[in-house]
Amino acid sequence: MNLEFDGEELAFQQEVREWVAEALPKDISEAVMNGTGVVKEQTIRWQKILREKGWLVPNWPVEYGGTGWTAAQKYIFANELAEAGAPALNPFGLAMCGPVIYTYGSEEQKAQHLPGILNSDIWWCQGYSEPGSGSDLASLKTQAVSDGDDYIVNGSKIWTSGAHLADWIFCLVRTSNEGKPQEGISFLLIPMDTPGIVVDPIIMIDGGHHVNQVFFTDVRVPKANRIGEENKGWTYAKFLLVNERNSIAQIGAKKRQIKRLQNLANAVGMDGATLADSTTYQEKMASAEIALNALEYSELRFLAGQQSDFAPGSEANMLKVKATELQQSMSELFLEMAAYYSLPFDGFRDMEGVNEPPVGLPEFTGGNEDFLYGRAATIYGGSNEIQKDVMMKILMSM
């Protein structure tokens, strides 16, 4: 057993490194590295570049566009991209809906939807949570009532990320009230321009418009848009969650955050020197790096096929909890380093298109937004409390 890359793996690393250096547009990597963040157009541009190379969906089966890479290659690839400042991909089509479609969809549905997902011409969002169904997602009430060859959909989804930018939405809808709540849910694909759909923005504490409430009033959706069997949608949704194991830890983004922390520590004065010179901050950085190592190598073990020694199948849940806790503690450290220069607030500035340079440290750009929006990380995707419940359910069933 060893962690060293062999000759082939090193060659692959070199290949990826050289390609990314050439192919990743500067405006995109700069926006990522300096904390301003990317917009939809930039994400699309990068996704198309990856697709052109054949490297957009390494985790998909080869027959659908995947690369057939080993765990080591996937690990190397993700690392190189992160180091170079590649942005996160839009997960809804590539990591969620796409895999559900190629696993459970009909040939027609695959033909209709996979190309648009792969060429980034179609943008997806996820309609899961409702005002009355958050942690208890199975209790969802948005109804799809049969009407000939169609469903009529009525209800409302909330916390829908990017619904204001999306072309399609994949929804969990209720198609039966009999039996357990989970047994009456279907997985339905809906075009966002269907009459009867209204998107209301919800502003978050970082001042940003990331999520929405989506209202469905007598929305007519062909039954042909249903994935798989009626009332089996919960199974497909669970598959999707397990599938997220590959990307949920966002190790690359965290490695970039370590670099940003180091840059900030070098820029901030303290005791006549810098934060980077102080033992206190060196130790805090060390703590963050060690926690990141533990997360990274746990992900690698699971990627390589190892399972939990206690609750096999709970790996994604565990990674989600530790990854989000680390994300939050690093964003707190970032704020702590900036001291009172974390007070100036740029959040609403972006929305109004103001062009003034930010007050304080350029190395801190985006720090407040990351910290504030980062509070949601332990809430969304299944709150960390729910994740622990799921782990225990698996453990107790052993």
Binding site: I205, G272, Y340, L343, P344, F348, V359, R375, I379, E385
Partner: protein
């Protein structure tokens, strides 16, 4: 020993609580944060009428002779209400400097509501060391010429007058050689860039470009300004701790109420043991914060400087720790709703986060406490 509040303190609390309940809070914050001032001049006048601006000044100075505990009572109510008006900057911080002078003609207009002030003590490189001052005050004629950059001055743009720490002698990090100056906010050479802060308040970068002041602008003795500044800052920290306690009270109340009404899995989420224990933890953090805020108020004016320093720094550490936990867990337990701009929770959480970074964060005060002995 007597830990009970006086009738006057109870009346002060009642009237302040009533005011903020009727007039302040998250909705007021959302409506006011984008206005030009970022606060209400009308509320400020009401503060004057209610006598609140006079509270901590001695009767000789034209005030009500209030103690730090009286200030604590008022600030706690302000914390409950997300008060935006520049009370802290004017009455506590700037007032804290003015209170140390034998005579000060500014106190009367301040107390009447006609004068807004702030103190410019921090600089880009200083972090939390009040003695780290690169701004210079060179003798010129009978007066001085000020040059430098003061950072994150609370309500600096609205201030009519600013108290500025500048160096009349010594190196940037020398404790001696620091002087305090009173300057007009719109004096020639004063460049102010105001901006909103994360918690819905206002601050400003203040650049001093050959600002000429007369000899009468000097506050106290030349070169001995640090002691005055430190005393004012310690009082201010005690007041800030009280504000944080008020904010925490609201968050614990709101969280308990929410968990009792929000149902998932067929029952109020307050039934789940994990959340019950979390709320119990929030409650305990609140009580401990409240206790040390009280100790800070009682000991900030102690004759024993070590006792005062440990009380103030200890409270600030506790407030940072408790404020972080209560703020973050209030958001967590409110689920997605806690993340919205519309709900009040996020605003209290942001205020607590910002209180921690003002006037010394936990690390700074841990160090200060451990060096105090």
């Amino acid at each position: 020993m007597d830990l009970s509040f006086s009738d006057e303190q109870n009346m002060l609390r009642d009237s302040a609580d009533r005011f903020v309940l009727e007039n302040c809070g998250a909705e007021n914050l959302r409506n006011t944060r984008d206005t030009e001032d970022g606060f209400s001049r009308d509320y400020w006048n009401q503060f004057a009428e209610l006598g609140w601006l006079a509270l901590p000044f001695s009767e000789e100075q034209g005030g009500l002779g209030g103690t730090p505990v009286d200030t604590m009572v008022l600030m706690e109510s302000f914390g409950k209400g997300l008060v935006l008006e520049p009370f802290f900057a004017t009455v506590i911080l700037a007032g804290g400097v003015l209170r140390q002078l034998d005579e000060c003609p500014l106190i009367e207009p301040l107390v009447e509501g006609g004068l807004l002030m702030s103190v410019a003590y921090a600089e880009p490189q200083s972090r939390y060391d009040l003695f780290d001052v690169a701004t210079t005050a060179e003798k010129s004629g009978d007066g001085y010429t000020l040059n430098g950059h003061k950072a994150v001055v609370i309500h600096g743009e609205a201030a009519d007058k600013l108290i500025v720490s500048a160096r009349t002698s010594g190196d940037t990090r020398d404790e001696a050689g620091i002087s305090l100056f009173l300057i007009d906010g719109d004096a020639e050479g004063v460049e102010r860039r105001g901006y909103p802060t994360v918690d819905g308040s206002r601050a400003a970068e203040v650049i001093l470009n050959n600002v000429q002041v007369g000899a009468d602008a000097l506050i106290g003795e030349e070169g001995n300004g640090l002691a005055i500044l430190e005393k004012a800052v310690d009082e201010a920290i005690a007041a800030l701790c009280a504000e944080a306690v008020g904010a925490m009270k609201v968050l614990v109340d709101t969280t308990v109420e929410y968990c009792k009404t929000r149902e998932q899995f067929g029952q109020p989420i307050s039934q789940f043991q994990v959340l019950r224990h979390r709320m119990a933890d929030m409650m305990m953090e609140y009580e401990q914060a409240k206790s040390l805020a009280l100790v800070a108020a009682l000991k900030v004016h102690s004759d024993d400087p070590v006792e005062a320093r440990k009380a103030v720094s200890g409270a600030k550490v506790q407030i940072g720790k408790s404020g972080k936990f209560v703020g973050q867990q209030a958001v967590q337990l409110h689920g997605g709703m806690g993340m919205t701009d519309e709900l009040s929770v996020g605003h209290y959480f942001k205020r607590l986060t910002m209180i921690d970074v003002m006037l010394g964060n936990m690390d700074h005060h841990l160090k200060r406490f451990s060096k105090a002995a």
